[in-house]
């Protein structure tokens, strides 16, 4: 495949920069700064140092033997992004972007958050690097993730409730962009997913590709060969693009994205952007999108706040349409079942997002032979979800929306 994105920020036909003129200069400045610093050894060294000493990378690639035996097919390896500082892959990107912000001379950072993981990761690096931090979060999500709201406040960040639209991640993104427009001079926007206008999908991928770079090296060390499948959950798609990207050129490795089917792809309550969406422009880029016939963006639903998003990063749209990656939907119920299975067989409580990837693995592994290998991105740990899960499994009335 060709080098993507091209100089216009296009992954094939996808991507681009569909933003108001008021933001264009900030995006061009960011692109210029990123092109400069990404080639600067000192910058790279600082990012690597923090990933290693502060976040604890490399994360392990763990052979989940009991899970593999239980499923009775392929060997399942888990890329343990849950072992990162703050408990998810999100910090890979926030460290990179916060160091970039500092180099660019910005003193304030802003971020959007859905489940709160990216918000916590942003608040964390802001504290670490001495930057002021505001996190925009949908009012609905704030209710669902109270612990993460408090965590961000403890870290010294201001959590700004978003009351527009659906009051979830999509509107938190809108509000962060709106705020950024009026504060571009001193404020850096740390976008948390592989979405948005160019150069964000590229920057986020580049900072997250460490997941795949490490996993590729580790599996070759362990097994002497590349895996047959790489499986990852997809909301906006940052952990998935991070683990997929270093394998894109390896034609024997099949890339499997797992999206949230919510209450089912045949209901109106899902976040299955690839299965049920169509091409459209949303939050700055052309990609797949859940929309109605008139081009109005439709609200998404998932038990997992991190997958509850009607769009998806443009590079995933490119991988799907070129046939390089395949995307499958997993329902709330299937994700909950997978979460319990992993907890009981391996002693690992995964985040609800990552549980979707485990659920797809539960379907895939038994169809494969014992000498085939699946690498799964375990993007985050489940601590943040425990209270909600208790509600679901305890049979209490606990609506995720």
């Amino acid at each position: 495949m060709n080098q993507v994105p091209d100089e216009k920020g296009r992954f094939g036909k996808f991507g681009g920069r569909y933003v108001p003129e008021t933001l264009m200069n900030a995006l061009l400045e960011l692109e210029e700064a990123y092109n400069h610093y990404s080639k600067d050894p000192e910058f790279q060294e600082e990012v690597c140092y923090l990933l290693h000493k502060y976040s604890g990378r490399p994360t392990s690639l763990y052979y989940a033997e009991r899970l593999s035996n239980h499923l009775g097919g392929a060997k399942v390896y888990l890329k343990r992004e849950d072992l990162n500082h703050t408990g998810a892959h999100k910090i890979n990107n926030t460290i990179g972007q916060a160091v970039l912000a500092k180099r660019m001379g910005k003193t304030k950072i802003i971020a959007e958050t859905g489940a709160g993981q990216h918000g916590v990761a942003s608040a964390t690096v802001a504290a670490l690097l001495g930057l002021e931090c505001k996190v925009f979060m949908g009012e609905e999500d704030m209710k669902r993730q109270q612990l993460n709201v408090f965590r961000m406040q403890l870290l010294g960040a201001e959590v700004v409730p978003v009351t527009s639209g659906t009051r979830t991640l999509k509107d938190a993104c809108n509000e962060t962009l709106r705020y950024w427009v009026s504060h571009v001079e001193d404020t850096y926007y740390i976008l948390g997913s592989a979405t948005g206008p160019h150069p964000y999908p590229m920057i986020v991928r580049d900072f997250q590709r460490i997941i795949g770079d490490e996993a590729r090296k580790q599996i070759v060390e362990n097994e002497g060969r590349l895996p047959d499948y790489v499986v990852a959950a997809v909301g906006g798609g940052s952990n998935a693009i991070g683990i997929f990207y270093p394998f894109v050129g390896d034609e024997t490795v099949r890339l499997v994205g797992v999206e949230a089917a919510g209450r089912g792809v045949d209901t109106n309550e899902h976040a299955a952007t690839m299965t049920k969406g169509s091409h459209g422009v949303f939050q700055g880029s052309l990609s797949y999108l859940l929309q109605d016939e008139f081009g109005q963006v439709q609200p998404a639903h998932s038990i997992s706040a991190g997958l509850d998003y009607p769009g998806i990063g443009p590079e995933h749209a490119y991988l799907k349409d070129s046939g390089r990656a395949q995307y499958f939907p997993i329902t709330d119920a299937e994700a909950l079942e997978a979460l319990q299975l992993l907890s009981r067989t391996e002693g690992i409580i995964p985040a609800l997002e990552s549980a979707h990837a485990i659920a797809q693995t539960m379907k895939l592994a038994p169809t494969l032979s014992k000498d085939e290998i699946i690498v799964v991105s375990l993007s985050g740990r489940g601590d943040k979800d425990v209270e909600a899960i208790m509600g679901y499994l305890g049979g209490e009335q606990h609506e995720s929306h």
Partner: protein, 268 residues
């Protein structure tokens, strides 16, 4: 000759500044939108910006967001908005119409079919706020062929881009008065006057200023340096305030008058 060009030419002869109100089509319903457009014309409007309601209006502040939400309750589509221009014309409105729409509804309609419809329904210009010059090539070519003006936005942060954007502009150049989203504000970007003169130097087209203009004093201030002034959120807020009156047939006229009086005050 495009109606926008005719209007600006005439105003220039008369030494006047164009007053360009914005309203969200279908807020609160399509029939009322037509009545409001007629009222705006009688009250001194020179051009009309017809907003297409959108679920994710990135460039807009809370007032226009709320108007979008009200219109979307009735699932107002981009086609409804274009038809509204035609119906207003049939009802006797003479002003040029500019359709203000985010890009995705246009993309889903189909670019060619959209441009054909816009042309046949008597719309003279387009503003697509999330389509910067890097992305507008196809739309610009189609608009050019249809004789529809694609009106670009320039911002105080556009810097070197002002010249490139102005060169491709048609109709007029829309200057964003301040950084941020649409909405009423007391202060404008500190370099606003320098910015406006930069734009003036870069183009022979009329220049209009918008975002945050809400009072007669502000209109007067910009009339000295601009050929047109766009008033959006302030008018949409007046419409919002008049909603209870507009909802009832007996008080409807009073509601329209209330909106009209505000617009008359703005007219210099």
């Amino acid at each position: 000759m495009n109606l926008i060009d005719q209007t600006f030419a005439k105003l220039k002869e008369e030494g006047k500044t164009a007053l360009i109100p914005f309203l969200t089509t279908g807020d609160p319903d399509l029939e009322t939108t037509i009545a409001i457009i007629q009222q705006l014309e009688q009250s001194g409007a020179d051009l009309i910006e017809l907003g297409v309601p959108y679920s994710d209006p990135l460039a807009d502040g809370p007032v226009i967001q709320r108007a979008s939400e009200r219109a979307l309750v009735n699932r107002i589509s981009i086609r409804d908005c274009i038809d509204t221009a035609e119906k207003a014309r049939q009802a006797g409105v003479k002003l040029p119409f500019i359709l203000f729409t985010y890009f995705n509804p246009v993309l889903q309609f189909g670019l060619e079919a959209f441009m054909e419809l816009v042309k046949t329904k008597g719309i003279s210009g387009l503003i697509i706020p999330d389509l910067p010059m890097e992305e507008d090539e196809e739309v610009r070519a189609l608009a050019e062929a249809a004789g529809i003006h694609l009106i670009p936005l320039v911002a105080p942060t556009s810097k070197d881009r002002v010249v490139q954007i102005s060169r491709k502009a048609r109709g007029f150049v829309y200057c964003v008065s301040s950084l941020g989203v649409t909405g009423v504000r007391a202060e404008f970007h500190s370099g606003i006057d320098d910015f406006l003169s930069t734009v003036r130097e870069a183009t022979d087209l009329p220049i209009a200023v918008g975002f945050g203009i809400s009072s007669r004093e502000q209109v007067e201030r910009f009339s000295k340096s601009c050929d047109g002034v766009v008033v959006g959120s302030a008018i949409v807020r007046k419409i919002e305030e008049a909603l209870p009156l507009l909802a009832d047939a007996s008080s409807r006229e009073a509601g329209l008058r209330q909106i009209g009086e505000f617009v008359s005050e703005l007219k210099v």
